[in-house]
């Protein structure tokens, strides 16, 4: 069994304590062994899935035809805490009803054992699993599953309907086709998990999934490259839907830490982005070089004024009226037009975490 030198978590994000997951061993496609094998690595670090260096230009498009607007309303405007999920074993979209009942029973049982459920004393849970049809981009994508938990607190008057206290979803939008096809038959790959509601309920739902489908939930962070992609993606939509502002936030590791936030006028941001696009010939795909040139342009504009090396810190948050994303894996999508491209990007991040 590979010994794992425990390292104290980096201050910025509290990674959950490493449960000694089943060792998948090093399959043929992992990287050559070097001295780094000594220190155990986070799963997925060694994935060989290629990181795309350019993406198609995401056009905002109205998805209300394919996807039930009611479902969209449930996902839009909320802030979701993201995790990655390893493939689910023997998960079937047809048994959603039974899963609802099983999860409800599990939650009730956990409550009996006095597991701390601080959202009031719940009498009973009503769990609803719904399949959100239409979000999948390719036929390899499994359909997105939405989970809602309604609970009635002890104080509620008799006839009062149970309130929605927790919601979450599992999704896979335009996942890496080659990887999805390599999935053994009984496994369904829904790598991206978003949760919104009481933390304790989230852990309970996660442990139920892990026990029932023999999978593993791990924290999904959005690294600065992906935040930069989102910033460029949202700025690109400005002429069509007014983003009203582009706000970037960095954290500089000073003592005490210094947060720098730069809110750019949308039109100016778009003109900068557009001049970079023109510079490289307005191809139909956006290249990573253009994105980093856009962000570096903004950083150098700040450096000219304040002479602070933002590169010594990390980009932690990007937000516009279309949505916001935080490095700790928090995402908010406020308009449904851009939902698919954002979910596609996040699915890609989650897939990179999959053990090969």
């Amino acid at each position: 069994m590979e010994t794992r030198l425990s390292a104290t978590a980096t201050p910025r994000n509290q990674t959950a304590p490493h449960r000694s997951s089943k060792s998948y061993g090093f399959s043929r496609r992992s990287l050559g062994v070097e001295l780094t094998s000594r220190l155990g690595c986070t799963p997925g670090q060694l994935t060989a899935v290629r990181i795309p260096t350019n993406r198609g230009i995401p056009k905002p498009r109205n998805i209300t035809e394919q996807v039930d607007p009611e479902h969209i309303a449930l996902i839009v405007k909320k802030e979701w805490k993201l995790s990655y999920v390893t493939p689910l074993y023997q998960f079937g979209h047809t048994q959603l009803q039974s899963y609802s009942r099983q999860l409800a029973a599990f939650l009730a049982a956990e409550k009996q054992q006095g597991v701390a459920v601080e959202v009031g004393q719940e009498l009973g849970f009503k769990v609803v699993f719904t399949a959100v049809l239409g979000l999948a981009e390719t036929d390899d994508d499994a359909e997105t599953v939405l989970i809602q938990i309604h609970s009635k607190s002890a104080f509620a008057a008799e006839g009062e309907a149970a309130k929605l206290t927790w919601s979450g979803w599992l999704s896979c939008v335009s996942g890496d086709v080659e990887y999805l096809r390599s999935m053994p038959p009984d496994f369904t790959c829904l790598p991206l998990f978003g949760a919104s509601g009481a933390e304790s309920l989230t852990t309970l739902v996660k442990s139920w999934f892990e026990r029932t489908f023999d999978c593993y939930f791990g924290p999904l962070a959005i690294n600065s490259t992906n935040l930069e992609w989102l910033a460029a993606l949202w700025t690109g939509c400005h002429p069509d839907t007014n983003i009203r502002y582009l706000k970037l936030a960095w954290t500089i590791p000073a003592q005490p830490p210094l947060d720098v936030s730069y809110t750019v006028h949308p039109q100016d941001a778009w003109e900068l982005w557009n001049s970079i696009r023109q510079e490289s010939g307005l191809r139909d795909t956006v290249d990573i070089e253009e994105v980093s040139c856009f962000i570096k342009g903004l950083e150098s504009h700040l450096f000219r004024h304040f002479r602070i090396y933002l590169s010594a810190g990390t980009l932690t948050k990007v937000s516009t009226t279309l949505g916001s994303a935080h490095q700790d894996g928090k995402i908010r999508i406020t308009s449904s037009d851009m939902m698919t491209s954002v979910l596609a990007l996040l699915t890609e991040c989650a897939l990179l975490k999959m053990p090969v």
Partner: protein, 182 residues
Amino acid sequence: MSLLKPLNKLPELNTANVLLVENEELFQKKLADAIVLLENNVNVIVRLARSLPLPLESRPRIDLVVFIVHLNSEQSLLSAEASLKHLDSSYFLGKVCFLVTGARCGTLPYERLTSLKKLAATLNSPLLMTEDRTTEGVNTVAQRVLAVLRVAAGLVPMATGLYLSSLTRCTVPTDPDWQNQD
């Protein structure tokens, strides 16, 4: 501008000089204390610098240059790359070593680590992943640096820096997917 040359001065008897280059000047002090504490028989002089070139002073021959790069800061990588230009090319025959910290942090952009690995591979120098927050981690990497230093300073019979570097240099993963990426 004077390039730092590895062989421009005569070595002193039984002493080894190592130069730790770190833009943040945070980890190098802890590492230097550990190195000096661990080494008993060879007189090890540790010189700490923020970047190259070094201010114009007389200093003994530097046997090993260690670049400490923190992956959570892009400036750390940029500053290391800039300092490399001030090293004489003959340093890259086993007299340069890269230490990388913070590789575990989840919010790390992947390309930073891969580009550093490619850099170390092209300069055929070793790249050591370092745990800079626990004392065991610091002691482990101090031992490794001492091992490389002893060889680079020619204090290990039958072993030259070049020979050791061919064994320990960083290899970019040979996986086909990587190839067509750049």
